[in-house]
Structure formats: C-alpha cells, structure tokens
C-alpha cells in the first residue's frame, strides 16, 4: 500500500474539519476523492501533505508514518501536490518554475515538455503571462519534476475551457497508463470515474463510502454528490 489514511481528525484552530477519514492508494492506482463543496476533500489533502496536520489518526506513506514530519519532508518522501487554483510562481519563467524544485527520477524537463508541449514553446515566458490552462499544465509539470511516488491533484480542471480540460484529462490518463499513483479530486465525474480504480466519498468530514467506480449507484450520487 502506497498511502494509507486511517481515521484522521483535523482541526483549523478550534474548529474540527475532519471527523474520521479513511482512504488508501495502492501503487499505480488512481483514487478519486469525492464529495460536495466543504465536505473536507481539500483538508484531507492538506493533512496528507502535512500542511494542516491531523490531530488524531494515522497517515502512512510508503511504509512510513507521517506523524511529526514537516510538509517539505513529506514531499521529499514522494508526495507531489498540484494545489487548487493553478498555483505557479508568477515572476519566474516556465523553465525556472519547472527546474527550481526538480529532483532526479524518470520525470525530467524533456519528459514534462513532451507531456505538455505548450510549456516547451513558452519556456522563457513568465508564468503570469500564460493562460489559465497553461498555468495548470505548469503546476502539474512542476509537481511531476519532483518525481513523486504519489501525485495529488486538487481540482486540476476547475474553471478551465473545455478544450484545455480535455488536454489535462488526456495528460492524467497518460500518467495513469505510465503507472503513476494518483489521488484526484475533481468534479468532472464523467472524466474521472472511467479512469478511477477506487472512489472515496466524503460527507461532513467523514469518509462515508469507499468502493469501485462501477459500484457507485445513482442513489449514492444523489445522496452524496448532488449530481
């Protein structure tokens, strides 16, 4: 098991956001983390990345308990994060964004640029001059350059034009086919479910359902996803 999250409870100051979340991601697996807005998806990701550490419960990644680690240490173990909202470093070029935090491994500049050719065309351009879709590609590329064992994508296609969204989904499919372990939060279930190996639904800070996408009934969707 690459990632195992067991009964984590996370707080923002005195406010409890997670009340017991369980999920696991196996090597090469794509797990979809689902739920309506405000149900704890991003907080779960923040807990896994040690940005908002859980007060109770355990997160074991690649055989190591993440308790006590700082976020950069968790990242060095192999957890790559593409945060919500196309977070690039605006005053750096595309190339600088990619290489500054790169770590050795299968993903290098050439490979990332072959996944997203637009980034290669705009290598010397400042990140804040890119379109929203290109910035998202850059955010994914930057995470890949750290050669993560597990890549976490938080709303990677949100707010993008349909054409760009298709490009991002095509890239996610290529990553999965290449054996990359993925934990994906996204509202586009029509794209996400066909490639997911497992789904976890969160409701009010708890994981309420875990199973294969094929077992996700219409009732469950109505009840927890509001679709």
């Amino acid at each position: 098991m690459m990632l195992k999250v067991s009964q984590i409870e996370t707080y923002y100051g005195p406010s409890q956001a997670l009340f017991g979340v369980d999920l696991s991601v196996d090597t090469g697996e794509l797990v979809a983390l689902m739920g309506r807005n405000g149900m704890g998806k991003s907080t779960t990701i923040r807990s896994i990345c040690r940005l908002t550490p859980a007060k109770r419960g355990h997160i074991v990644f690649d055989g190591q308990d993440l308790a006590g680690l700082r976020s950069f240490q968790a990242a060095r173990l192999g957890i790559g994060l593409v945060p919500e909202g196309r977070r690039c470093f605006a005053s750096l070029t595309v190339q600088e964004n990619l290489i500054a935090t790169a770590r050795p491994g299968v993903w290098d500049y050439t490979k990332v640029v072959s996944l997203f050719p637009r980034l290669g065309e705009r290598a010397g351009q400042m990140a804040d001059t890119l379109s929203g879709g290109e910035q998202q590609m850059l955010a994914i590329g930057r995470a890949l350059m750290t050669n993560p064992k597990l890549l976490i994508l938080d709303e990677a296609t949100e707010g993008l034009a349909p054409v760009i969204r298709q490009e991002i989904w095509a890239a996610i499919r290529r990553l999965k086919d290449a054996g990359q372990s993925l934990l994906v939060v996204d509202k586009t279930l029509s794209e996400l479910l066909p490639i997911a190996d497992a789904c976890v639904i969160l409701e009010k800070g708890r994981s309420v359902w875990t199973g294969r996408p094929s077992a996700l009934s219409g009732d469950l969707r109505d009840q927890y996803l509001g679709v």
């Binding site: 950069f72 990242a75 945060p83 005053s91 770590r103």
Partner: protein
C-alpha cells in the same frame, strides 16, 4: 544576437557614467570628486548586498549596518595591529594587505550572519526586522564599549591598506578597486539569481508553503541568502574604512541600516542595478544639497515618498518598467 532590454540599456549607461565620472574628475585634477565616486560605489556595493536579502529574498533586514561595520572594523583592527606590530587577542598578527582583510571581513560577517540568521530567520515580518535591528545594536554597543579599538571615538587607519603592487593611495586606483568590487558583487548576485538556487529563493519569497510542498525547505535557502548578503555588505564596509582612513561605531548604527534600506527602495527593490541608482542619488543629494542645508534629508524624503507612491519599482522601475527576464 540577443536584443537588449530597456533595463539593460539603463544599467549599461549607469555603469558607464559611474566609470567615466571619476576619470573626468581625475583629468580635471579634482581628487575630491574621484573619492566621492568611490563613496558612491562602496555604498552601492553595500546596498547590493542588502538587495540580495531584501529585494530578492524578501528578508527585510534592519541590521545590515552590523555587517558593513564588521567589515570596516576588520580593516581597521587589522591595520592597527599591522601598524604597531601587536597581535589581535595576543595571537593573530595584523595585516595591511587588502585581500587578507577582505577574506577575514567576509568570513567574520559570514559567521555573524549565520548566528544572527539562525535565530532571526525563524521569525517573519516585523519580528524579523526587530531581531536584526537588535543584533546590530548589540554589535554597535559592543564596539562603543571596547576602548582598545577606539570605543566611541573610532579607530584611524594611518596608511591605506595595500593591494599587490598597486598604489592604493592614488584616488583613481582606489576607485578602480572599488568599482571592480561593485561589479563583482553585481555579477555574483546575477549568477545567484540566475541559478536554480535563485529560482528557489524567489519561490520562498513568493510562497514558502508552496515551495515546501515541492520538497524544498525554505529555511536553508533564506539562511544562505542572508549570509551571502552579509558577506557582500561586509566587503563594502572594509573598502569604506580604507576610503575614509577611519572606522567608528557609526558604521554599525541603525541609521546606516536605514540608509541602506532607503537606497535599495529608492533604486528599485529586487532590481540588479537598483542599489547603484539609489546610491548615486543618495550620495549626490547628501553631498550637493547637504552643502546648502543640513536638512537635505527633507528633500531625500520627498523623493523617496514620490518613488514609493508613484514608482514602486524604484528609479530603475520608473525608467525601465516592469522587471523581465533577458
């Protein structure tokens, strides 16, 4: 051939002006103006050091006078012991050789900056400003209370330190040494900011949490930057002591830290040649308007206010626009 940006043209013109002005002054037999140019260049170099931390690293250090003064005191103390043949703390002989003095100055400032940085960089914002100020003031009061090296009265350097076989007492030659040192400090800053380390430093300034989620700890990057910045500023301090033939605790005072910050902001925070533009304006205002009125800082205040309100990229930003990569 790569097209030069407007900023490159402005920077080149600034360097050319700075190099030609003392040459003209020397031809006109005006050594005062050659020394004035040396002063501009040395203060610009100190500000280049601060700009690395403040402008590129976002580390608002209000204690860089400590490093400037440490560099000055290394030059002063080394020259003092070399002059009377005595030993520092009974074992270390003095030296009047600039390369030795620069090396020691840079090492001493580096050690001090490591100690100060390890403590102060655990804080941010106003706390960081206050801790760096507090450390600088501690060093200032230490210098005042140390009578062996002049205490409050300072320490004279009777003969300008030597560099190989050059006649360093010649104002133009000394200007050349200072100018070379400034260019070297700008070159080093440029190389740092053009490297992966520089990109990571920018990331740490823009969003250290995002940097950490990429597996890079921001603290060592900031500490290294702070130390390198202090080293550059201390080199300027050693030259400043040689220029004036004198070192005193005023070099360590918080006024001086404030002046360096003003120079960086005036010229352009995070612009490679911003400190040079800032130092030119600052020293010329101090010299020429200061010749008419002792309240010259009133005019400096007006200029600074205008720059902050209407040109947040400083003078370089005003002339060259938004920063861009070459």
């Amino acid at each position: 051939m790569r097209k030069l940006t407007r900023e490159s043209w402005i920077n080149s013109s600034l360097v050319l002006l700075l190099a030609l002005a003392p040459l003209c002054a020397s031809l006109l037999d005006e050594p005062y103006y050659v020394n004035l140019a040396s002063r501009v260049v040395i203060i610009a170099m100190a500000a280049v050091g601060l700009n690395l931390a403040l402008g590129f690293g976002g580390l608002i250090s209000f204690g860089h006078a400590a490093f400037f003064g440490l560099g000055g005191y290394v030059a002063g103390v080394a020259a003092y012991h070399a002059f009377d043949g005595s030993y520092f703390i009974g074992v270390i002989p003095g030296s009047d050789q600039m390369p030795v003095i620069w090396l020691v100055a840079v090492l001493v400032a580096g050690l001090a900056a490591t100690f100060i940085g390890v403590i102060s960089l655990r804080t941010q914002g106003v706390y960081f400003i206050m801790i760096t100020l507090a450390f600088a003031q501690m060093i200032y009061y230490f210098a005042i209370s140390f009578p062996t090296y002049g205490g409050e009265d300072g320490l004279s350097i009777y003969v300008r330190n030597s560099l190989f076989s050059l006649d360093t007492s010649d104002p133009l030659i000394f200007f050349g040494i200072c100018f070379f040192s400034l260019m070297l400090s700008i070159f080093v800053t440029r190389r740092i900011m053009g490297s992966r380390f520089g990109a990571a430093l920018t990331m740490a300034r823009l969003n250290d949490i995002r940097l950490a989620t990429s597996g890079v700890e921001p603290f060592p990057i900031r500490l290294t930057t702070f130390v390198l910045s202090a080293m550059i500023t201390s080199g300027a301090g050693a030259l400043f002591a040689d220029l004036n033939g004198f070192v005193s605790p005023s070099m360590l005072s918080w006024h001086h830290s404030g002046e360096l910050m003003v120079i960086v902001i005036l010229g352009g925070v995070g612009r490679l040649f911003g400190p040079v533009a800032g130092a030119v304006v600052f020293v010329l205002l101090e010299t020429f308007i200061g010749g008419f009125t002792q309240h010259w800082q009133f005019f400096l205040g007006l200029i600074l206010l205008s720059v902050v309100l209407f040109a947040n990229g400083g003078l370089i930003g005003l002339l060259a626009g938004r920063p861009r990569h070459d």
